[in-house]
Symmetry: C2
Subunit: 198 residues, 2 copies
């Protein structure tokens, strides 16, 4: 909340505006935890933040934008950036996947909210979507890299499958077909299948 990370929803904000945004985002997360994403409205968030709805809409293009922003911050927060563990690529990928999943599951309502939100055509959402996708890619890339030759690029085909599988898993979880625990299991097995082959 009181982040040093200056990943603001809109660029070029003066301190006063930045504070308003922080209040809104903090209130958004609280509201999400309190009432869930179905019941949350931009207006209730504004009220919780002690700000008028009109102001909220000045900084949040939409409810979906709010969810995307919160998710991005949750994902990119310093405490979520841990190095992959393991001697082999498989182990490192599995640890990455488990770390990502458990990070996501820390805020179940956020996870449930963000899946549909990211599908929005809202340009602010589109921006965040790309960032989030890039973040996942970077994590997988880091996990695939061999410690002794960190600059050797990973096989793009493998990377693509990993990203597709990961987003598929998030989708399944977002639809409620799988719990996030099951997701972690399946992805670990998926990594095995993908890297070891059949």
């Amino acid at each position: 909340m009181s982040s040093q990370v200056f990943e603001t929803p809109r660029q070029g904000l003066n301190p006063r505006q930045a504070e308003t945004v922080e209040k809104l985002l903090a209130a958004g997360l609280e509201e999400l935890r309190a009432v869930g994403h179905e019941a949350l409205t931009v207006r209730t968030v504004a009220t919780r933040a002690g700000v008028s709805p009109a102001t909220a809409y000045t900084y949040l293009a939409s409810k979906n934008h709010l969810f995307a922003e919160l998710f991005w911050r949750h994902l990119a927060a310093p405490e979520a950036r841990i190095a992959p563990q393991g001697a082999s690529a498989v182990e490192r990928l599995q640890s990455t996947v488990r770390a990502l999943t458990s990070r996501i599951v820390e805020e179940p309502e956020l996870a449930a909210a963000v899946t549909p939100a990211l599908l929005s055509t809202d340009p602010d959402v589109a921006r965040l979507r790309l960032r989030i996708g890039g973040e996942f890619l970077a994590r997988f890339e880091a996990a695939l890299a061999e410690p002794d030759q960190p600059d050797r690029p990973a096989d793009p085909a493998v990377l693509e499958v990993l990203v597709l599988t990961w987003s598929g898993a998030l989708l399944q979880a977002g639809m409620g077909l799988l719990t996030y625990d099951q997701i972690a299991e399946r992805l670990a097995s998926a990594v095995d299948v993908i890297l070891r082959g059949n």
Copy 2:
């Protein structure tokens, strides 16, 4: 449209009701092609079908339900059920994936509409979501099966990765990150990676 397939949106409809449903679904598809899924409303569909909005809501729980229903019919239609071609599992899977993709791309607006729609919590959507997921699973299962031992079950881990990858690809396409043509390419390559290993 004039289908023999009795996959009705609600069970136990008499002929008169069934006809109304058909009119609504046909009108829904037309409207979708004409104005796209953003501009489509249940009321415009009702008008196009020559029926009152109240009637439309008698048979369609929601706009999302309409999209899910149309997608399901499009996917499960007899003309979409072609046998996988190829001597190896990889070839059969690739042909299946290409067939599915090209079927979906026949109705681009439907494809764009259905991705967010399937995430709805609407119970009617949930029902169709399961059916659609089951359909994909069945296709991959059929493609994996060796012609000479058709009853030998496929490796569940491989099947899971395929389903995850496939849904991830649909998600990416639904978000506009990839075109459906690119999807087909990547999936073909993904199948290769998954089955051949690294």
